[in-house]
C-alpha cells in the first residue's frame, strides 16, 4: 500500500490500489475547490452547481472503493464506472461517468496501469462523451477530454511513462480550460471558464501531483485566465444538501428512509442510535420533523427503534441488492410499508420539484400517481436517487419529468438501471413540467402519456426572475451584482433593481389575448407582494389571464410560464 507518497514514488504500485489513490486525491481536490467551481456559472444564479455535482459524483466512486478495492485494475475500474454512473449528479457528473466508462474499457484486459492505458482511456472517454451529447459544443468538458487525450497520446509516442503522460494531460487540461472562453461566447461574456472542464483539470492535476510525490488535492487552484471570481453565495437549504450527501453512501442492505414526527426531536441522539444498528445514517431536521436515511440489514429494526422518538411516515424501503430488489418490492407492498404508493395505475410519474408550493402542485396534478422527488438547481439528484424514486412509483410504467435542464441527463441514465418501463419527457423547467403533468392520465398507456405530455414542451414558455450574484454580460444585457435578472426561454432579456418591474418588462410584447401566464412566487416572497405584483401585471396587460401560486422555490423570486 502506498499511502505515503514520499516514500513510494519509485516503487508505486500501478494497479487497482493506485486507482483508489487517484480517486481519493481527485475527490479531495474537488472538495478543496468546490466553491470556486460553483462560482464559475454562466448564469449568475445558483444553477446546477458544478462543483457540488462533481464532488458528490466522485464521493460515490471513492466510497465504492473504500468499501472494496481489487488489485486487478480491470475489476476496480469497472466498479468505478458503475459507481460513478449511479452517483452521477448533473451534467458534469454524467460526463465524468463517461470518463470512468472509457477508463474501464481501456483497462478491461490489463493488469497494469500504463501511460498508454491511461491515454487510451482518455481517448475512449472523449469519444463516448461526444456521442453522449446530442449537440456537442466546443469550449466544454468535451474539448478538455479530447485535447487531453491528444496530449497524452503524444506523450506516449515520446515514450513517456505514466507519470509524464499524466503531467502532460494535466497541463493540457489547464491550457484547454484557459482557452474555453475563446471557443464559447457565453463563457467569454460571463467572464468565466468552463467549470466542468476546470473540475476535470483539477482532478488530473491532483493525479499528476500524486505521481510526482507531491501532496495531492489540498491546493486551492485559481481558474486559469480568470481574474478573481467572487466566492459563490451559500445556497438555500443546508438540511437538504447534508441529506443528499449522505444518500451518496454505498448501497448496502436495505436503504431505509422515513420521517419521524414528534416533539422536540433532536437529530444527534437519533443519528447515534441509527449508527449503532445500521450503516451510514443521515438524519436531517429537528423539532417536530426529522428525516432519516439509513442502510440496514434488517429495516424493521430501524423502524422499531425510531418509534420511540415519535410517529413514522413516508416509509420507503429498498433492497439495494439488485437480485433481491423485486422480491423486496413485493414484500414492501404486502407488509404495507409504503403501501399507499403501491396502488395500481397503468402509468405513474416521477417528478423533480423544489419549493413546498410547487411540490404540492405536482402532487395534486399527478392525480395520486405522482412520486415527487425533491431536487432542482442547487440540489441535482443522483441517478441512483432517481432510480429509487422510479422503483417506488406506483406503476410498472413510469414517466420521469426532470423539470430542470441539468437533471435531464441523469434522468435518462436512470432508464437503463431499472426493470420498469421508463420514458423521460424532457422538461427543462418546473413550469413546463406542470403543464406536461396536466396532460397526464394514469389510466392510459405510458407511450400515449409520453406523447401527449411532450406537447407542452414546444408550446409552453418558461421564465424566471432572480438576483444576480455577480456582474455579468449575457445575451447582450448587462447585469450588476444584486440586480434582478429576467430570463425568458433561457435567455437573459432584461435586468433592473426592482423585481416586479423586471417581471413586467420581460413580458412586454410576449403576450396575446389567449395567453395564460402563471406566476410562482419564491420562498422569500410574501403572499402579499406576490398578489401586488400580479395585480400590477393584470393592470398592465388587461387582456391576459394571470394565475398566481405561492411556489416557495429557493433562489428565484418568480418563476413563470406563458401558454
Amino acid at each position: 500500500m502506498t499511502d505515503n507518497p514520499d516514500t513510494a514514488r519509485s516503487n508505486r504500485r500501478t494497479d487497482g490500489f493506485l486507482l483508489r489513490e487517484f480517486v481519493r486525491s481527485a475527490t479531495r481536490a474537488l472538495e478543496t475547490n468546490q466553491e470556486t467551481l460553483n462560482a464559475l456559472n454562466v448564469f449568475p444564479v445558483p444553477d446546477g452547481d458544478t462543483g457540488t455535482n462533481m464532488v458528490l459524483t466522485m464521493r460515490s466512486v471513492r466510497d465504492e472503493l473504500e468499501q472494496q478495492v481489487d488489485a486487478n485494475p480491470s475489476i476496480t475500474s469497472a466498479r468505478m464506472a458503475r459507481a460513478s454512473l449511479l452517483g452521477a449528479r448533473g451534467n458534469s457528473g454524467l460526463i465524468l461517468a463517461q470518463y470512468f466508462k472509457g477508463l474501464a474499457e481501456s483497462l478491461a484486459d490489463g493488469y497494469d496501469i500504463s501511460g498508454e492505458g491511461f491515454a487510451r482511456g482518455l481517448r475512449i472517454a472523449s469519444e463516448i462523451a461526444y456521442r453522449a451529447v446530442p449537440q456537442p459544443k466546443e469550449g466544454t468538458m468535451l474539448t478538455v477530454f479530447r485535447e487531453c487525450a491528444e496530449a497524452a497520446e503524444k506523450a506516449v509516442v515520446e515514450m513517456a511513462g505514466l507519470e509524464h503522460v499524466m503531467i502532460a494531460a494535466a497541463d493540457q487540461a489547464m491550457d484547454t480550460v484557459r482557452r474555453t472562453p475563446e471557443m464559447l461566447d457565453v463563457l467569454r461574456d460571463a467572464g468565466v471558464v468552463d467549470s466542468g472542464g476546470f473540475g476535470f483539470a483539477i482532478m488530473l492535476q491532483s493525479g499528476a501531483d500524486l505521481m510526482a510525490g507531491r501532496e495531492a488535492g489540498t491546493r486551492k487552484i485559481d481558474p486559469p485566465g480568470v481574474a478573481a471570481i467572487q466566492g459563490s453565495q451559500a445556497s438555500g437549504s443546508s438540511i437538504r444538501s447534508e441529506f443528499l450527501e449522505g444518500v451518496e453512501e454505498k448501497a448496502w442492505g436495505y436503504c431505509t428512509v422515513f420521517a419521524i414526527e414528534g416533539n422536540d426531536l433532536e437529530p444527534d441522539p437519533i443519528r447515534k442510535h441509527m449508527d449503532d444498528i445500521g450503516r451510514s445514517p443521515v438524519v436531517a431536521g429537528a423539532g417536530t420533523l426529522v428525516k432519516v436515511h439509513v442502510h440496514m440489514e434488517d429495516p424493521g429494526a430501524a423502524l422499531t427503534a425510531a418509534l420511540q422518538y415519535g410517529s413514522l411516515s413516508n416509509i420507503e424501503i429498498q433492497n439495494m441488492d439488485e437480485q433481491a430488489r423485486e422480491w423486496a418490492a413485493n414484500r414492501t407492498a404486502e407488509t404495507g410499508a409504503g403501501a399507499s404508493k403501491q396502488q395500481d395505475f397503468t402509468t405513474a410519474v416521477v417528478a423533480l420539484a423544489i419549493g413546498p408550493g410547487l411540490i404540492e402542485c405536482f402532487e395534486t396534478a399527478g392525480l395520486g400517481a405522482a412520486n415527487v422527488l425533491v431536487g432542482g438547481d442547487t440540489m441535482n439528484p443522483s441517478t441512483a436517487e432517481i432510480v429509487e424514486a422510479i422503483e417506488a412509483a406506483p406503476s410498472q410504467a413510469v414517466i420521469v419529468l426532470p423539470n430542470n435542464k441539468n437533471i435531464i441527463g441523469t434522468a435518462k441514465q436512470a432508464v437503463d438501471l431499472t426493470s420498469k418501463t421508463v420514458h423521460v419527457v424532457e422538461t427543462r423547467s418546473m413550469q413546463v413540467g406542470l403543464s406536461a403533468l396536466l396532460e397526464f392520465n394514469p389510466d392510459k398507456l405510458v407511450e400515449e402519456n409520453a406523447a401527449s405530455m411532450s406537447e407542452p414542451l414546444t408550446i409552453v414558455r418558461s421564465g424566471s426572475v432572480s438576483k444576480a450574484i455577480r456582474d455579468a454580460l449575457l445575451d447582450g444585457v448587462v447585469v450588476r451584482e444584486g440586480q434582478y435578472m429576467g430570463v425568458l426561454d433561457e435567455k437573459l432579456v432584461t435586468a433592473g433593481d426592482d423585481r416586479a418591474s423586471v417581471l413586467l418588462e420581460m413580458l412586454n410584447g410576449q403576450l396575446d389575448e389567449e395567453s395564460l401566464v402563471t406566476i410562482y412566487g419564491g420562498a422569500d416572497l410574501g403572499e402579499e407582494s406576490l398578489e401586488e405584483t400580479v395585480d400590477r401585471l393584470q393592470e398592465t396587460y388587461p387582456h391576459t389571464e394571470f394565475e398566481s401560486i405561492s411556489g416557495g422555490q429557493p433562489d428565484y423570486d418568480f418563476l413563470l410560464s406563458i401558454e
Binding site: G357, T364, A365, L367, S435, L438, N441, E514
Partner: protein, 281 residues
C-alpha cells in the same frame, strides 16, 4: 301500431327533432329553493343560466314522479303496441328507477313498457332516442328496439369541456372526476360519462387548448354514426366547433343542441362538448 318512444328532458333533444321523430319527452324538475320548474317547459335556458350564475340559492333537480310516468304511459298505450322508455344514467339520477316503478304499475293494465338505462346523458341519450325512433317508425318490435337501444347506448359517448368543477361538486354528482378537484392550478377539465358516472378524462390549462383536445377526442372516435355539438351558453363557439367537426359527422353537418337546465346545473356556464354514437366495428 308502432312502438312509442319516450325519453326524458335530460336528453336535451331540440323540440323540433323530438316532434319530427315522434319522440315523447318527459320533463325532470329544477328547483330554486321552493320554486319548481319543469325542465324545458316553463323555464327557458337563458333565464336558467342567468339564475345559475347570479342566484344565491344553488338549484337542485329531481326526477319525474312514477305518477307522471304512469300518466304518460297510459296515454301512449291508447294508440301504441308498446313503449320503449330511454333514460339518463341511473348512476346520477332516479329517473330510470321512477320509470321502472311506473312500468311495473301499468303492467297489470296490460301496458308493455321497457325502460332502458342508457348510462348516458344529454344528446348522447338524445341521439340514441332518434335512432330508436327511426327503427320504431320502420316497424321494429319492442323486443328488437330494446336490443337496439342497449347496443346503441354502448356506442354512445357524452363528453364536455367545463369551465369549472364547482357545479358538479355542489350538485353532488362529481363521481370519479373528484380526483381533479385538488389541483392547485386552475384547469379546464374535460369530463365524460364512463359507465354512467362523471369521470375527468383530460385537463387543459386554457380554454383554447381544451377545445382542441375535444376536437381530437372526436377525431379519435371516428367513424361515427351520429354527432351533436353541445353548449350551455356559447352558441357561436358551438357553431364554430360544429363547422370544424363537419368532416366527422355522417351527414356532413353535426347537430347543435343546448344543454337544458338539469344537465346544465351540473356542468355550468361555458360548457362545450359533444354527444356522439360511434359506428359499430
Amino acid at each position: 301500431m308502432p312502438v312509442a318512444v319516450v325519453t326524458d328532458s335530460t336528453s336535451d333533444l331540440p323540440a323540433e327533432l323530438a316532434s319530427q321523430h315522434g319522440i315523447h319527452v318527459i320533463p325532470l324538475y329544477v328547483h330554486f329553493g321552493d320554486e319548481a320548474y319543469q325542465d324545458g317547459v316553463d323555464i327557458t335556458a337563458d333565464d336558467f343560466y342567468q339564475r345559475l350564475q347570479s342566484d344565491r340559492v344553488f338549484p337542485t333537480t329531481s326526477a319525474p314522479s312514477p305518477g307522471a310516468f304512469m300518466e304518460l304511459y297510459r296515454e301512449l298505450a291508447k294508440d301504441h303496441d308498446g313503449i320503449i322508455s330511454l333514460h339518463l344514467s341511473s348512476k346520477v339520477s332516479a329517473t330510470h328507477s321512477s320509470a321502472l316503478q311506473a312500468a311495473s304499475e301499468v303492467k297489470e293494465e296490460g301496458i308493455k313498457v321497457e325502460p332502458i338505462d342508457t348510462l348516458q346523458a344529454s344528446m348522447a341519450l338524445g341521439l340514441v332516442a332518434i335512432e330508436v325512433a327511426k327503427a320504431a317508425q320502420d316497424g321494429s318490435s319492442l323486443e328488437e328496439l330494446k336490443v337496439l337501444a342497449n347496443e346503441l347506448s354502448a356506442r354512445a359517448r357524452f363528453t364536455g369541456l367545463v369551465e369549472t368543477l364547482e357545479y358538479l361538486q355542489k350538485g353532488g354528482r362529481i363521481g370519479r372526476a373528484q380526483a381533479m378537484l385538488g389541483s392547485l392550478l386552475r384547469i379546464k377539465p374535460i369530463l365524460a360519462l364512463v359507465d354512467g358516472e362523471a369521470h375527468g378524462i383530460e385537463r387543459a390549462r386554457t380554454r383554447s387548448r381544451g377545445i382542441s383536445r375535444i376536437k381530437n377526442l372526436v377525431a379519435e372516435a371516428t367513424p361515427l354514426d351520429a354527432l351533436c355539438v353541445l353548449h350551455t351558453t356559447d352558441p357561436e363557439l358551438a357553431s364554430e366547433l360544429a363547422a370544424d367537426l363537419s368532416e366527422h359527422a355522417p351527414s356532413g353537418k353535426p347537430l347543435i343542441a343546448r344543454l337544458g337546465p338539469v344537465v346544465g346545473t351540473y356542468l355550468g356556464p361555458g360548457m362545450l362538448g359533444f354527444g356522439m354514437i360511434r359506428s359499430s366495428s
